[in-house]
Amino acid sequence: MLATGVNHSVREFIEMAFGHVDTKVRWEGKGLDEKGIDAANGKVLVSVDPRYFRPTEVDFLLGDPAKAKKVLGWTHTVELKDLVAEMVDCDLKSITSKRGRSDD
Protein backbone atom coordinates (compact mmCIF):
# COMPACT_ATOMS: atom_id res chain seq x y z
CA MET A 1 0.00 0.00 0.00
CA LEU A 2 1.33 3.38 -1.01
CA ALA A 3 -0.21 6.38 0.74
CA THR A 4 0.86 9.51 2.58
CA GLY A 5 -1.07 8.77 5.79
CA VAL A 6 -2.74 12.20 5.70
CA ASN A 7 -6.04 13.11 4.07
CA HIS A 8 -7.89 16.28 3.16
CA SER A 9 -11.31 17.17 1.78
CA VAL A 10 -11.98 18.35 -1.77
CA ARG A 11 -13.00 21.66 -0.11
CA GLU A 12 -9.53 21.98 1.45
CA PHE A 13 -7.89 21.13 -1.90
CA ILE A 14 -9.85 23.99 -3.51
CA GLU A 15 -8.79 26.38 -0.72
CA MET A 16 -5.13 25.41 -1.20
CA ALA A 17 -5.29 25.84 -4.98
CA PHE A 18 -6.88 29.30 -4.75
CA GLY A 19 -4.55 30.14 -1.89
CA HIS A 20 -1.61 29.57 -4.21
CA VAL A 21 -2.81 32.47 -6.39
CA ASP A 22 -3.49 34.60 -3.28
CA THR A 23 -7.26 34.17 -3.39
CA LYS A 24 -9.04 33.46 -0.14
CA VAL A 25 -12.22 31.41 -0.41
CA ARG A 26 -15.10 31.89 2.02
CA TRP A 27 -17.80 29.18 2.14
CA GLU A 28 -21.51 29.97 2.41
CA GLY A 29 -24.61 27.78 2.40
CA LYS A 30 -24.99 24.05 2.86
CA GLY A 31 -25.21 20.91 0.71
CA LEU A 32 -26.06 21.56 -2.93
CA ASP A 33 -26.41 25.30 -2.20
CA GLU A 34 -22.91 25.67 -0.79
CA LYS A 35 -20.81 28.27 -2.60
CA GLY A 36 -17.17 29.24 -2.47
CA ILE A 37 -16.87 33.02 -2.51
CA ASP A 38 -13.88 35.25 -3.18
CA ALA A 39 -13.39 36.85 0.23
CA ALA A 40 -11.89 39.95 -1.38
CA ASN A 41 -14.74 40.89 -3.74
CA GLY A 42 -17.74 38.63 -3.02
CA LYS A 43 -17.68 36.89 -6.43
CA VAL A 44 -18.86 33.27 -6.54
CA LEU A 45 -15.87 31.09 -7.47
CA VAL A 46 -17.23 27.61 -6.70
CA SER A 47 -20.71 26.05 -7.07
CA VAL A 48 -21.86 22.51 -6.41
CA ASP A 49 -23.25 20.60 -9.40
CA PRO A 50 -25.07 17.36 -8.47
CA ARG A 51 -24.17 15.88 -11.87
CA TYR A 52 -20.66 15.34 -10.52
CA PHE A 53 -21.82 13.17 -7.62
CA ARG A 54 -21.37 9.42 -7.97
CA PRO A 55 -24.40 7.11 -7.60
CA THR A 56 -22.52 5.52 -4.69
CA GLU A 57 -19.99 7.85 -3.09
CA VAL A 58 -16.65 7.02 -1.48
CA ASP A 59 -16.43 9.48 1.40
CA PHE A 60 -13.21 8.76 3.22
CA LEU A 61 -9.92 7.28 2.05
CA LEU A 62 -6.86 7.36 4.26
CA GLY A 63 -4.01 4.89 3.92
CA ASP A 64 -1.57 3.59 6.49
CA PRO A 65 1.76 3.31 4.62
CA ALA A 66 3.55 1.45 7.46
CA LYS A 67 4.13 -1.77 5.48
CA ALA A 68 5.57 0.08 2.44
CA LYS A 69 7.94 1.92 4.75
CA LYS A 70 9.02 -1.24 6.54
CA VAL A 71 9.26 -3.64 3.58
CA LEU A 72 10.17 -1.30 0.71
CA GLY A 73 11.80 1.60 2.55
CA TRP A 74 9.33 3.76 0.63
CA THR A 75 7.83 6.97 1.83
CA HIS A 76 6.23 9.91 0.03
CA THR A 77 8.48 12.94 -0.42
CA VAL A 78 6.05 15.56 -1.76
CA GLU A 79 3.54 17.19 0.58
CA LEU A 80 0.10 18.13 -0.69
CA LYS A 81 0.75 21.88 -0.45
CA ASP A 82 3.74 21.54 -2.79
CA LEU A 83 1.86 19.20 -5.14
CA VAL A 84 -1.00 21.70 -5.44
CA ALA A 85 1.46 24.54 -6.07
CA GLU A 86 3.22 22.56 -8.83
CA MET A 87 -0.10 21.69 -10.50
CA VAL A 88 -1.47 25.25 -10.40
CA ASP A 89 1.83 26.69 -11.65
CA CYS A 90 1.91 24.24 -14.58
CA ASP A 91 -1.70 25.05 -15.49
CA LEU A 92 -1.01 28.79 -15.33
CA LYS A 93 1.99 28.30 -17.61
CA SER A 94 0.21 26.07 -20.12
CA ILE A 95 -2.86 28.34 -20.37
CA THR A 96 -0.64 31.40 -20.79
CA SER A 97 1.45 29.80 -23.52
CA LYS A 98 -1.63 28.58 -25.41
CA ARG A 99 -3.14 32.04 -25.22
CA GLY A 100 0.12 33.47 -26.54
CA ARG A 101 -0.04 31.17 -29.56
CA SER A 102 -3.64 31.94 -30.43
CA ASP A 103 -2.93 35.68 -30.19
CA ASP A 104 -0.14 35.40 -32.80
Binding site: L83, V84, C90
Partner: protein
Protein backbone atom coordinates in the same frame (compact mmCIF):
# COMPACT_ATOMS: atom_id res chain seq x y z
CA UNK B 1 22.31 -7.10 -18.39
CA UNK B 2 19.81 -4.31 -18.83
CA UNK B 3 16.27 -5.26 -17.88
CA UNK B 4 13.27 -5.03 -20.17
CA UNK B 5 9.93 -3.71 -18.97
CA UNK B 6 6.52 -3.74 -20.61
CA UNK B 7 4.17 -0.98 -19.44
CA UNK B 8 0.48 -1.07 -20.31
CA UNK B 9 -1.19 2.32 -20.01
CA UNK B 10 2.08 4.04 -20.85
CA UNK B 11 0.31 7.13 -22.22
CA UNK B 12 -1.36 7.81 -18.86
CA UNK B 13 -0.10 9.82 -15.91
CA UNK B 14 1.56 6.91 -14.11
CA UNK B 15 2.79 5.26 -17.31
CA UNK B 16 4.64 8.38 -18.34
CA UNK B 17 6.32 8.84 -14.95
CA UNK B 18 7.19 5.14 -14.70
CA UNK B 19 8.62 5.01 -18.23
CA UNK B 20 10.83 8.00 -17.43
CA UNK B 21 12.00 6.36 -14.18
CA UNK B 22 12.82 3.01 -15.80
CA UNK B 23 14.62 4.60 -18.76
CA UNK B 24 16.69 6.58 -16.29
CA UNK B 25 17.55 3.28 -14.56
CA UNK B 26 18.78 1.88 -17.88
CA UNK B 27 15.79 -0.33 -18.71
CA UNK B 28 14.62 -1.07 -22.21
CA UNK B 29 11.00 0.06 -22.06
CA UNK B 30 8.12 -1.12 -24.22
CA UNK B 31 4.90 0.83 -23.83
CA UNK B 32 1.42 -0.16 -24.97
CA UNK B 33 -0.96 2.49 -26.26
CA UNK B 34 -4.43 2.31 -27.74
CA UNK B 35 -5.07 3.42 -31.27
CA UNK B 36 -7.03 6.67 -31.25
CA UNK B 37 -8.04 9.12 -33.95
CA UNK B 38 -6.78 11.96 -31.77
CA UNK B 39 -3.28 12.26 -30.35
CA UNK B 40 -2.92 10.40 -27.05
CA UNK B 41 0.85 10.32 -26.56
CA UNK B 42 1.31 13.86 -25.22
CA UNK B 43 2.65 12.62 -21.88
CA UNK B 44 5.38 10.45 -23.43
CA UNK B 45 6.31 12.55 -26.48
CA UNK B 46 9.33 13.89 -24.63
CA UNK B 47 10.60 10.35 -23.96
CA UNK B 48 9.83 9.34 -27.51
CA UNK B 49 11.85 12.22 -28.93
CA UNK B 50 14.76 11.22 -26.73
CA UNK B 51 14.70 7.93 -28.62
CA UNK B 52 17.03 9.43 -31.21
CA UNK B 53 19.62 9.34 -28.47
CA UNK B 54 20.97 5.81 -29.04
CA UNK B 55 21.17 5.04 -25.34
CA UNK B 56 17.43 5.57 -24.82
CA UNK B 57 15.49 2.40 -25.42
CA UNK B 58 11.83 3.27 -25.64
CA UNK B 59 9.32 1.70 -28.03
CA UNK B 60 5.57 2.20 -28.32
CA UNK B 61 3.28 -0.60 -29.49
CA UNK B 62 -0.39 -0.54 -30.35
CA UNK B 63 -2.49 -2.65 -28.06
CA UNK B 64 -5.66 -2.97 -26.06
CA UNK B 65 -6.41 -4.71 -22.78
CA UNK B 66 -9.51 -6.27 -24.33
CA UNK B 67 -7.48 -7.99 -27.10
CA UNK B 68 -6.01 -11.27 -25.82
CA UNK B 69 -4.01 -12.23 -28.89
CA UNK B 70 -2.51 -8.76 -29.08
CA UNK B 71 -1.38 -9.02 -25.46
CA UNK B 72 0.08 -12.50 -25.96
CA UNK B 73 2.01 -11.33 -29.02
CA UNK B 74 3.37 -8.24 -27.23
CA UNK B 75 4.57 -10.31 -24.27
CA UNK B 76 6.10 -12.86 -26.65
CA UNK B 77 7.88 -10.24 -28.75
CA UNK B 78 9.23 -8.20 -25.86
CA UNK B 79 10.06 -11.08 -23.41
CA UNK B 80 9.87 -8.64 -20.48
CA UNK B 81 11.52 -9.09 -17.10
CA UNK B 82 8.82 -6.89 -15.59
CA UNK B 83 5.28 -6.06 -16.65
CA UNK B 84 3.50 -3.09 -15.12
CA UNK B 85 -0.24 -3.29 -15.76
CA UNK B 86 -1.26 0.36 -15.54
CA UNK B 87 -3.81 0.28 -18.37
CA UNK B 88 -7.40 0.79 -17.30
CA UNK B 89 -10.58 2.69 -17.80
CA UNK B 90 -9.47 4.57 -14.72
CA UNK B 91 -12.23 7.12 -14.20
CA UNK B 92 -14.62 6.10 -11.41
CA UNK B 93 -17.57 8.23 -12.54
CA UNK B 94 -17.21 7.12 -16.18
CA UNK B 95 -17.27 3.49 -15.00
CA UNK B 96 -20.95 3.91 -14.07
CA UNK B 97 -21.62 4.72 -17.74
CA UNK B 98 -19.27 2.12 -19.25
CA UNK B 99 -19.51 -0.63 -16.64
CA UNK B 100 -19.08 -3.60 -18.98
CA UNK B 101 -16.09 -2.15 -20.83
CA UNK B 102 -14.51 -1.23 -17.48
CA UNK B 103 -14.96 -4.82 -16.24
CA UNK B 104 -13.41 -6.15 -19.43
CA UNK B 105 -10.41 -3.81 -19.58
CA UNK B 106 -9.69 -3.43 -15.84
CA UNK B 107 -10.70 -6.88 -14.59
CA UNK B 108 -10.21 -9.43 -17.37
CA UNK B 109 -7.34 -7.32 -18.74
CA UNK B 110 -5.18 -8.33 -15.79
CA UNK B 111 -6.09 -11.98 -16.37
CA UNK B 112 -5.10 -11.73 -20.05
CA UNK B 113 -1.58 -10.64 -19.12
CA UNK B 114 -1.22 -13.31 -16.42
CA UNK B 115 -2.41 -15.95 -18.88
CA UNK B 116 0.09 -14.68 -21.47
CA UNK B 117 2.89 -15.10 -18.91
CA UNK B 118 1.71 -18.65 -18.21
CA UNK B 119 1.10 -19.69 -21.84
CA UNK B 120 4.49 -18.40 -22.96
CA UNK B 121 6.34 -20.25 -20.20
CA UNK B 122 7.51 -17.03 -18.57
CA UNK B 123 6.33 -17.77 -15.02
CA UNK B 124 9.95 -17.94 -13.76
CA UNK B 125 11.17 -14.91 -15.68
CA UNK B 126 8.50 -12.25 -15.81
CA UNK B 127 7.45 -10.28 -12.76
CA UNK B 128 4.00 -8.72 -12.76
CA UNK B 129 2.72 -5.54 -11.13
CA UNK B 130 -1.03 -4.96 -10.92
CA UNK B 131 -2.22 -1.40 -10.37
CA UNK B 132 -4.65 -1.89 -7.52
CA UNK B 133 -6.40 1.00 -5.89
CA UNK B 134 -7.65 2.54 -2.66
CA UNK B 135 -11.09 2.58 -4.32
CA UNK B 136 -11.22 -1.12 -3.32
CA UNK B 137 -11.93 0.09 0.23
CA UNK B 138 -14.93 2.14 -0.98
CA UNK B 139 -17.34 2.12 1.93
CA UNK B 140 -14.51 1.93 4.39
CA UNK B 141 -14.57 -0.75 7.07
CA UNK B 142 -11.69 0.74 9.07
CA UNK B 143 -9.87 4.07 9.44
CA UNK B 144 -7.12 4.34 8.37
CA UNK B 145 -7.15 1.59 5.75
CA UNK B 146 -4.33 -0.96 5.77
CA UNK B 147 -3.52 -4.13 3.80
CA UNK B 148 -5.73 -6.19 6.14
CA UNK B 149 -8.81 -3.93 5.87
CA UNK B 150 -11.70 -5.74 4.11
CA UNK B 151 -12.61 -4.39 0.67
CA UNK B 152 -16.04 -2.87 -0.08
CA UNK B 153 -15.91 -1.58 -3.66
CA UNK B 154 -18.47 1.12 -4.51
CA UNK B 155 -18.27 1.51 -8.31
CA UNK B 156 -18.02 -0.66 -11.43
CA UNK B 157 -14.39 0.53 -11.58
CA UNK B 158 -13.63 -0.71 -8.07
CA UNK B 159 -15.48 -3.99 -8.61
CA UNK B 160 -13.44 -4.62 -11.78
CA UNK B 161 -10.26 -3.79 -9.87
CA UNK B 162 -11.31 -6.26 -7.17
CA UNK B 163 -11.17 -9.01 -9.79
CA UNK B 164 -7.75 -7.77 -10.93
CA UNK B 165 -6.53 -7.83 -7.34
CA UNK B 166 -7.62 -11.40 -6.62
CA UNK B 167 -6.62 -12.91 -9.97
CA UNK B 168 -3.12 -11.51 -9.34
CA UNK B 169 -3.05 -13.15 -5.90
CA UNK B 170 -4.38 -16.39 -7.36
CA UNK B 171 -1.81 -16.61 -10.16
CA UNK B 172 0.95 -15.98 -7.63
CA UNK B 173 -0.31 -18.79 -5.42
CA UNK B 174 -1.24 -21.20 -8.22
CA UNK B 175 1.75 -20.80 -10.55
CA UNK B 176 4.42 -19.13 -8.43
CA UNK B 177 4.52 -16.01 -10.59
CA UNK B 178 6.23 -13.02 -8.94
CA UNK B 179 2.96 -11.12 -9.10
CA UNK B 180 2.13 -8.18 -6.81
CA UNK B 181 -0.64 -5.72 -6.17
CA UNK B 182 0.24 -2.13 -5.40
CA UNK B 183 -2.73 -0.63 -3.55
CA UNK B 184 -2.15 3.02 -4.34
CA UNK B 185 -4.06 5.87 -2.80
CA UNK B 186 -4.75 8.94 -4.94
CA UNK B 187 -1.69 10.26 -6.69
CA UNK B 188 -1.69 13.37 -8.79
CA UNK B 189 0.62 15.55 -10.87
CA UNK B 190 0.52 18.28 -13.51
CA UNK B 191 -0.26 15.57 -16.11
CA UNK B 192 -3.24 14.13 -14.22
CA UNK B 193 -6.22 13.73 -16.57
CA UNK B 194 -8.24 16.92 -16.80
CA UNK B 195 -11.52 15.28 -15.75
CA UNK B 196 -10.09 14.06 -12.41
CA UNK B 197 -11.08 16.29 -9.52
CA UNK B 198 -7.63 17.60 -8.54
CA UNK B 199 -6.62 18.61 -12.05
CA UNK B 200 -10.07 19.95 -12.77
CA UNK B 201 -9.63 22.22 -9.74
CA UNK B 202 -6.10 23.40 -10.54
CA UNK B 203 -7.01 24.12 -14.18
CA UNK B 204 -10.09 26.07 -13.12
CA UNK B 205 -8.14 28.04 -10.51
CA UNK B 206 -5.52 28.96 -13.13
CA UNK B 207 -8.18 29.95 -15.69
CA UNK B 208 -10.17 31.97 -13.13
CA UNK B 209 -6.99 33.69 -11.94
CA UNK B 210 -6.18 34.67 -15.54
CA UNK B 211 -9.72 35.97 -16.08
CA UNK B 212 -10.64 33.27 -18.63
CA UNK B 213 -13.27 31.45 -16.57
CA UNK B 214 -15.82 32.65 -14.02
CA UNK B 215 -16.51 29.68 -11.87
CA UNK B 216 -15.66 26.11 -10.91
CA UNK B 217 -18.50 23.55 -10.76
CA UNK B 218 -17.74 20.67 -8.42
CA UNK B 219 -19.29 17.50 -6.93
CA UNK B 220 -18.91 16.34 -3.33
CA UNK B 221 -16.89 18.93 -1.39
CA UNK B 222 -16.74 16.70 1.68
CA UNK B 223 -14.95 13.72 0.05
CA UNK B 224 -11.72 13.03 1.90
CA UNK B 225 -8.73 11.71 -0.04
CA UNK B 226 -5.12 10.79 0.72
CA UNK B 227 -3.25 12.63 -2.05
CA UNK B 228 0.39 12.13 -3.03
CA UNK B 229 2.60 12.92 -6.03
CA UNK B 230 2.61 10.39 -8.89
CA UNK B 231 6.41 10.62 -9.17
CA UNK B 232 6.79 9.23 -5.64
CA UNK B 233 4.26 6.47 -6.34
CA UNK B 234 5.91 5.07 -9.49
CA UNK B 235 9.13 4.73 -7.48
CA UNK B 236 7.08 2.59 -5.07
CA UNK B 237 5.78 0.44 -7.96
CA UNK B 238 9.32 -0.28 -9.05
CA UNK B 239 10.38 -1.17 -5.50
CA UNK B 240 7.47 -3.59 -5.22
CA UNK B 241 8.83 -5.61 -8.16
CA UNK B 242 12.46 -5.67 -6.94
Amino acid sequence: MAKTALITGVTGQDGSYLAALLLQKGYTVHGVKRRSSSFNTGRVDRLYQDRHDEKVQFTLHYGDMTDSTNIIRLVQETQPDEIYNLAAQSHVQVSFETAEYTANADGIGALRILEAIRLLGLTEKTRFYQASTSELYGLVQEKPQRETTPFYPRSPYAVAKLYGYWITVNYREAYGIHASNGILFNHESPVRGETFVTRKITRAVAAIHLGLQDKLYIGNLDSMRDWGHARDYVEGMWRILQ
